[in-house]
């Protein structure tokens, strides 16, 4: 817990810098656009329409959309454009900030008393003088209100930058949500809310200063904001420089990934590397981030790579799949120091008592009793190819199927609202709730061996590969389940960092 909270200052600083940069870029785009739009109604309609359209895209989707766009762009110019981290987050948040600034600035400019425009023309102002001496100062209070809205939105939406690998307060929120560590979630939320409130208050001070024509007040507000941004650059300035010995470890957004990332981190730190973490990356993004070198190492699952990256539809035995995957990775220059030894596969689990009573060992046995049972699936499962494959291999006809979020899925099984669930085979709750995983004798579901992947650049570092090699085949599924349970359990939760240390001790060097 304290390990994660110790990151608060750094994450806060990164959050401030990201939001400030997006707001500034938003201002640079919106203000000239607003001036141009105030003179041409057609442009105003087009610009405001477009900005409103952008606003209707969920922020999470907007962030994710920039990833392929930047990859494509980088490909066009021959590489060099980072598709992960600061840049995509900045661009998405900037687009988000444009609408409120643009709308208010245009409203402020168009809403000016026509007599003032006539007077400005009448005394012989040029267009530039009119803007500088009359329009800008008089539209400023209305525009400032828009800037305040944009600032609050940007700070809020910046928490989502975690999903494209940009460190921010969202790291705490996402990690906390996944591990159900509510202290972490609240810390992230409160920090982000306080930041938004303070920023809004300072911008409000600037607005009041402009409205009441009290320059000093406005400058105090500006100075305090500048001070805050300045303070936020400190951690970046004092941070250890990025060197060859710095490794970025990626993780998807669930507990097992957090634990394994920290475990790998511990090993690398011991080998003399500086480690950074990028957690909460989406499944679709993380492999490309590795291939592009944005992250150095992460753990993925053979079946996921098999279908998503290798585009294979057949389901060979576990060992065959692993061998082919290794060959495929080598051809791309991606290092595979080995499988960790456990699988995290989709598996159908039933209550242990039911399994004994109904003599359920395999999915073939389940076919018999399924018509009297309710299947609970996580939100994704019922739409995934694995479920379709299962239904093809075994004529499963459940009385009903229901979708739950993962936490509630286990509760539903416990309370009898569901009789079988789509569990993950390495989930700690399988052991703690004494669930029975039903075997898949027909091999319908591909193997999901956890494998370490190393980016092409880092794979050339023999010392790094040597530091990772001892982890291969050292984590049997029971051990991983216990580790996951320590993080996921409701009471006496441990942080992924602590569990990684525990795991490190258990598996030996």
């Amino acid at each position: 817990m304290s390990g994660a909270l110790a990151r608060l200052p750094d994450l806060l600083a990164a959050h401030v810098l990201l939001s400030a940069a997006a707001l500034l870029l938003g201002l640079l785009i919106s203000l000239p656009l607003a001036v141009a739009a105030s003179r041409r109604p057609a442009l105003a309609r087009a610009a405001l329409g477009l900005a409103s359209l952008v606003q209707t895209i969920p922020a999470l989707a907007l962030l994710a959309l920039f990833y392929p766009v930047l990859i494509a762009l980088s490909g066009l110019v021959g590489g060099g454009i980072p598709a992960l981290g600061f840049l995509p987050a900045l661009l998405a948040l900037t687009l988000y900030a444009v609408l409120p600034i643009l709308r208010n600035a245009v409203t402020g400019l168009i809403g000016l008393d026509p007599a003032l425009t006539e007077a400005a023309d009448g005394v012989g102002m040029t267009a530039g003088q009119k803007l500088r001496l009359v329009q800008a100062p008089l539209a400023a209070p209305v525009a400032m209100a828009g800037i305040r809205t944009a600032a609050v939105w940007t700070i809020g939406a910046a928490t989502l930058a975690t999903t494209v690998g940009q460190p921010c307060l969202g790291d705490l929120i996402f990690a906390g949500l996944q591990t159900q560590d509510w202290t972490l979630v609240l810390t992230g939320c409160i920090a982000s809310a306080l930041l938004a409130l303070i920023t809004d208050a300072l911008l409000g001070l600037v607005e009041t200063g402009i409205r009441r024509r009290r320059a000093l007040l406005a400058w105090i507000g500006v100075a305090l904001i500048a001070l805050g941004i300045g303070a936020a650059t400190l951690p970046a300035l004092t941070a250890a420089p990025v060197t060859q010995k710095t490794v970025v470890i990626g993780a998807k957004n669930f507990s097992e990934q957090f634990i394994l990332a920290r475990l790998i981190g511990l090993r690398l730190e011991r080998a003399g590397y500086t480690v950074r973490y990028r957690e909460g990356l989406g499944s679709a993004v993380i492999f490309r981030a590795l291939a592009a070198g944005d992250i150095g190492i992460y753990v993925d699952y053979s079946g996921t790579l098999w279908t998503n990256e290798m585009k294979r539809r057949d389901v060979p035995p576990r060992a065959v799949m692993l061998a082919q995957l290794t060959g495929w990775a080598e051809r791309q220059g991606i290092g595979m120091p080995g499988a960790l030894g456990f699988e995290n596969a989709y598996a159908i689990a039933v209550r242990g008592a039911d399994a004994r009573r109904l003599k359920l060992e395999t999915l073939d046995d389940l076919v018999r009793v399924a018509p009297n049972m309710v299947l609970g699936g996580d939100l994704e499962f019922l739409e995934r190819p694995e479920w379709a494959a299962l239904k093809r291999a075994y004529p499963l006809r459940f009385r009903a199927t229901r979708a739950f979020s993962p936490t509630f899925m286990y509760r539903a099984l416990e309370s009898g609202q569901a009789d079988a669930i789509s569990a993950f085979s390495s989930d700690g709750r399988i052991a703690s709730m004494q669930l029975k995983i039903l075997a898949d004798p027909r091999g319908a579901v591909p193997g999901y061996d956890a494998v370490m992947l190393v980016s092409p650049q880092k794979a050339k570092d023999p010392a790094l590969m040597a530091a990772l090699a001892p982890l291969a085949a050292k984590i049997p599924v029971d051990l991983m389940r216990e580790a996951n349970y320590r993080v996921d359990r409701d009471a006496d939760k441990q942080s992924p960092q602590d569990v990684a240390r525990w795991l490190d001790g258990r598996i030996g060097r």
């Binding site: 008393d113 003032l116 006539e118 007077a119 005394v123 012989g124 008089l138």
Partner: protein, 255 residues
Amino acid sequence: MEAAPPAIRFEAVTKAYGGIPAVEAVTLSIAPGSFVALVGTSGSGKSTLLKMVNRLVEPDAGAVFVEGEAVHAIAPPLLRRRIGYVFQGIGLFPHMTVAENIAIGLRLEGRAAGDRAVELLDLVDLPRDYAGRLPDALSGGQRQRVGVARALALEPRLMLMDEPFGALDPVTRDQLGNAYRALHERLGLTTVMVTHDMAEALLLADRVLVMQAGRIVADAGPHDLLTGKAGTAADALVAVPRDQAERLRLLAEGA
């Protein structure tokens, strides 16, 4: 003296808004030093004609000359700094003090304001300590005095006034009209004032132009207008204030 060009010359100027004519082929000269009132009902085209002089409105056809120079050959900001402009909306900049408003023309030219604002406050009979106030703190009449001072700041020889006192109460209006007429004399200005009030036109101007549907339908001195020598359209407009004056006289006698 023949060489001195007219202060303003309109040559066959025409302007239409969306196909509806506002000014139709007006040709007219205004002599330097004259005080001309442009009278007509709303929509008669008088404001449009006035604003073509400082290019707030561009004619569709024809040309306007100021002191012999074609206005379309002068960049609008430079042209406007040579011509004082006062209008009904006043348009004092609310974020600038009275002094800053008055001296705005000097600021646009990049010149130091010096004591000019104080001089102009004196000129329009406003207390000097108004210099530091914001326009919001002034009454309507005081604001328009500032408007006049602002228009005079760059010492123009020509003043264009579009219903300048139209929004003021009758007493203030009368005071301001007379005060301005005195300034006109003192500074040797040429003034063109648009008004819909024939009485105001007759009492202030040396020459009254009556506009109707985009054309000048009467052009005469106040005396000729009052004695019916300016045609029927003018007579109809003159009849109103004259009848009012007559009724007031009868009321006073009857009492």
